[in-house]
Symmetry: C2
Subunit: 320 residues, 2 copies
């Protein structure tokens, strides 16, 4: 029998489920829609059914060691998902408990998606052997997982690692959290979209992006234009990297990481985002930290990085 | 024989030395000048002589378990003091090694003064039993010690916890570190001094402080004026608390502490600094963190808090 962990990544639209071994190989992957389920009990039953089907199909070849779940607004200490804006289930949901009822006696661990990404990076990815690092997930928003002394920083209440909601610009852009100027309103896919329109206003430079309305623009459009040499799109990545880099200098002053990993959709822009982030971080950094901190792309595969991260939680729990 | 630790707090002017028991009682305290020693080897020999004298005087009643040292720019991992602006000894000094040569076989641990304060708070003070908290030392500058999962956050290079050098105001006040707008240029004794002059410029309000020249003004003058009801001095504390509170909201987003302790000279202003810091931190904080994080004065005694902190390092090392 092969020892494996179940990794579950809960997104607003889809839920990805994978069976992952100790070395981070995803043996099977499947998914179910998230947003078609109004009833969370039914949702958990459906996910559990999918997992049971895979176990049955393996005919005793798999030794399931635990279930790791990454989800927005998840609380590791309490095993809950609390008021996640992008999920249908409101209030405080005892998520671990729901899963536990379908898998009695098996370890169930839940954390937020960025923490799961950090765990995956440490277990299978570029942070192997590192004890101090930060993972920044650049998606619709900006998530973060902070690892210090080899352990995920959960904080007193289980909600640590909200670097996306540190203030980058006082009285800056309106954020979904109700405040203004949060880092994620600049450094994220939606941040890039907002920035390209800001640059269009401020500059007279021509750009192919001027033909796309606000409601249709995506960060991928900006990326493609930048690759094609569009000056305004290139400026947009420089501006995004400037704000991200300056705030990363603040984060370094908190926990002095060996590396900062960029993870998720926008991180695939590669050097376009990594180079300016690194440059402005170095410029903004306290001298004792200069030229010490790497900015790296996540080394987890594209396809199922979030599932890998979630599964890594299981090994971490078992190794405690 | 009584088990004790030696605590040494190295300041720019004086070095305080204390013998402290497991419960945080300082049995003996003494000091020698720091700034009269150009030669660090001679300095360490003199400090060691002081300690040896106390041990001899105790006639075998003391069982010295180790030596803990708090110093500016100290590196826990390497046992060094590196380019401390307020000490005469430049370059990288192998400080632990120097002490070890005088006390062979005894545990010697070194860390920066703010980390030592955090350790003291956890071992003997208000953070007993807490696993996640931050200590902010408000002196000439602003130091910080971050504790997460019950451990001091040293970071990859041993220099974590430089919250005083996160940026509070972009292109703000010139900082001793060579950059602009660092938190410590606003929230510290010198920050208060700078702010009161800024308020004198911006406002027409009368104030007794208008008679004191820049070179003579101290934060203590501003404190006394505030206590006497001077409106400008009160505004100065409000302004200082605003900047400190807003940046503390950022720090909370990193490590989600249970409490933030204010330590050092300026922290003695009590509610004058604690109330506005708390108020503006709450206003600036991400909703999930609101009304959870305490702002508390250090519970270590006034007299030898830094020595207590340094001595706490020893128990922490022995308990590892």
């Amino acid at each position: 029998m092969k020892e494996v962990a179940i990794g579950i990544d809960i997104g607003g639209t889809n839920t990805a489920i994978g069976i992952v071994d100790r070395d981070g190989h995803c043996l099977v992957e499947t998914s179910i829609p998230t947003d078609t389920h109004d009833d969370v009990t039914k949702y958990v039953a459906d996910v559990s059914k999918k997992i049971q089907d895979i176990i049955a199909f393996s005919e005793g070849a798999l030794d399931i060691k635990g279930i790791g779940i990454g989800a927005p607004n998840a609380n590791y200490h309490k095993g809950t998902i609390e008021n996640a804006p992008n999920l249908r289930w409101k209030g405080i949901i005892k998520f671990s408990e729901l899963f536990q009822s379908h898998f009695p006696g098996i370890t169930v661990a839940l954390t937020n998606d960025a923490n799961a990404a950090a765990m995956g990076e440490m277990m299978y990815g570029g942070a192997k052997g590192m004890k101090d690092f930060i993972v920044i997930t650049l998606g619709t928003g900006l998530g973060s997982g902070v690892v210090s002394n080899g352990e995920l920083v959960y904080g007193h209440d289980g909600f640590a690692g909200e670097i996306g909601h540190t203030i980058a610009v006082y009285n800056g852009r309106m954020c979904g959290c109700g405040r203004k100027g949060c880092l994620e309103t600049y450094a994220s896919a939606t941040g890039v979209k907002r920035s390209i329109f800001q640059l269009m206003c401020d500059s007279n430079k021509p750009s192919s992006l001027r033909d796309i309305p606000f409601s249709k623009m995506t960060s991928s459009d900006v990326y493609k234009a930048a690759v094609a040499g569009d000056e305004l799109a290139l400026e947009c990545f420089d501006y995004t990297g400037k704000i991200l880099g300056e705030k990363m200098a603040d984060s370094v002053a908190h926990t002095s990481p060996e590396a900062i990993f960029l993870f998720g959709g926008m991180a695939k822009s590669g050097d376009l985002i990594i180079n300016p982030t690194k440059k402005y971080m170095e410029e903004a950094m306290l001298p004792i930290f200069k030229n010490k901190v790497k900015i790296l792309p996540s080394a987890l595969g594209d396809v199922n990085a979030a599932v890998l991260g979630a599964s890594a939680l299981v090994w971490s729990e078992l190794d405690k």
